[in-house]
């Protein structure tokens, strides 16, 4: 189903503007992630699509050309996975998954068949008749997903579906969720504050900030061509290089960097993986701390820029804290972006 949102805004009764007028179009089968720090309006936007929150007047939510703005949540035919899962403790796993089908007034036999189909897909066969309280976090998450997709909703909405899990399980279930969502083939929108999660699961990511969509695009596009410093920082942890810019040269405390183009009035950022240790490099730096992360070392470097910058270093050995070394950064790896008003 294609989903079209136009002029969606939300002002809370106390006057807080949670969401500024937003337009968004999502095509059939596409998985879109709403990514942003807490309080950026991403959950509000999701709840407006679900019908759990009423947008300001002038907003339009269209499901496949049908205006559903005024429809209540129970008539919109959506599926939703909540952060706390909201599983019904008074029903078994099977009862939870079959509830939406029961609401559609399907026959007993058809409900059983469809529930079994979803149970198999979500690998819940062993738990099908258990009570909700007897399940682990990961199993609950799968039941919540199975319950949401069983009635074949027009759009699947997921509100921070992985954030209630511990870190190790989260990484595992992230890939599993991406796979399942592709298998269902349902248009899906999911909200997260975790950029790796968004990049791993979504076809397109909408980065939100202060009630606005700051940029929307494929994970690659956002990573390679961030529109603003905020997005570069949020996707891929870019660090600003604070110094004086004169035409195409950047004067830093540790030395002078050549820029690929004139950058006056812009800010220059770099990602940790693009900083090289290079004895002939133009920048001097001092090692503050070294963290061994298995595949690479993470170096905290002082004196090169204002404050500390981080560099990823692969190799069998690393410099020690206190060592002086030189750095180089390939000009094409520098992100030159318009300077933003500070928020």
């Amino acid at each position: 189903m294609t989903l079209r949102l136009s002029n969606i805004a939300k002002t809370f009764p106390d006057g807080t503007r949670a969401l500024l007028p937003t337009d968004l179009e999502i095509s059939q089968g596409e998985i879109v992630s709403l990514l942003g720090p807490s309080g950026c309006g991403k959950s509000t936007l999701l709840r407006i699509i679900a019908g759990l929150e009423t947008p300001d007047t002038g907003a339009r939510v269209m499901f496949e050309g049908e205006d559903v703005t005024r429809q209540s949540v129970e008539t919109r035919r959506i599926g939703m996975v909540f952060q706390s899962y909201a599983l019904f403790p008074n029903m078994s796993v099977r009862g939870n998954i079959g509830y939406g089908l029961k609401m559609q007034k399907l026959g007993r036999a058809e409900i059983d068949a469809r529930v079994n189909e979803v149970i198999a897909l979500c690998r819940l066969d062993a738990q099908a008749d258990r009570a909700i309280t007897a399940l682990s976090g990961g199993q609950r998450q799968r039941v919540a997903l199975a319950r949401a997709v069983a009635p074949r909703p027009r759009v699947l909405l997921l509100d921070e579906p992985l954030s209630a899990l511990d870190a190790a399980l989260r990484a595992e279930l992230r890939d599993e969720l991406a796979l399942l969502l592709r298998q269902f083939g349902i248009t899906a929108i999911f909200v997260t504050h975790d950029q790796t999660e968004a990049m791993a699961i979504a076809d397109r990511v909408a980065v939100m900030r202060q009630g606005e969509v700051a940029q929307i695009g494929t994970p690659e596009a956002l990573y390679r061509n961030p529109a603003t410093g905020f997005i570069a920082r949020f996707i891929g942890d870019a660090m600003p290089l604070e110094g004086r810019i004169e035409a195409d040269r950047l004067y830093l405390p540790g030395g002078v960097l050549d820029l690929p183009k004139s950058a006056e009035g812009h800010e220059v950022l770099v990602r940790p993986e693009d900083i090289r240790l290079d004895p002939d490099g133009p920048l001097a730096a001092r090692v503050e701390a070294v963290t061994f992360l298995g595949t690479h070392y993470r170096l905290a470097l002082a004196d090169a820029s204002q404050g500390v910058i981080f560099a990823l270093h692969t190799g069998l050995s690393a410099p020690r804290p206190g060592d002086d070394l030189r750095l180089s950064i390939a000009p094409e790896a520098l992100l030159i972006l318009p300077r933003e008003r500070t928020a």
């Binding site: 939703m80 706390s84 008074n90």
Partner: protein
Amino acid sequence: MKSVTRTLPLIVTLLACAFLLIPIIQSVLAGLTVNYFRGLSSGLTLKWIGEVWTLYSGSIFLSIRLALACLIVTLILGVPAAYALARNPGRASRVLEEFISLPLAVPGLALALALLQLYGSYKGFRTSWSFILVGHVLYTMPFMVRSVLSVLAAIDLKTLEEGAASLGAGPARRFIDIVVPNALPGILAGALTVVTLSIGEFNLTWMLHTPYLKTLPVGLADSYASMRLEIASAYTLVFFVMIVPLLMAMQWASARAQRIAR
């Protein structure tokens, strides 16, 4: 030294138990002896219990009927009220909750007097058992509302309902499928409290009753005042047999509801 610290509390406990239990045992025995003044040597009998049944079986049935009617009314009014309070937390809800709880603080006699002043002139109502029922509902309602409310407040009702709504359930279905089953421990604890209180209520009922409408405790007072001691004691025994199992069930259900609420 150690033995003193152990035996002293034990003696105090046993004394306290004896203080509480001996009058009960004595009263029960009085209802079972042939002649109380001649003591146990006169022999044991069930005659007095038979007498109680012929004299006061009407009171027993009236009390049971009142308790069940009171339960039905508090369920129908109290559960939705608790739900509404749980769904709309805020100052107005708290004020309302206090207001419902007011009959707990006002003496039963005062409540009864107010009812008499207000409805005493409606003859048909004044002399029907539903008049006593109104008093009992007023008195027991806070127990039902609070018991259900404490369980509902402990679960994330809003999100559960949003989950049900996203699956296509309208408000009425959500209430039946989600709210009531999850509030069940609170409803059960509240129901047992209501029945126990209604059967045992004396203050208010004594003011509201008519000679033709004596509930169990009012009948008890009546038997103390006008029957021989053995009958009154046998009555106490009947009262115990009815109320003690209810009391124990109530304890069990409230403990269970509190575990869930925590």
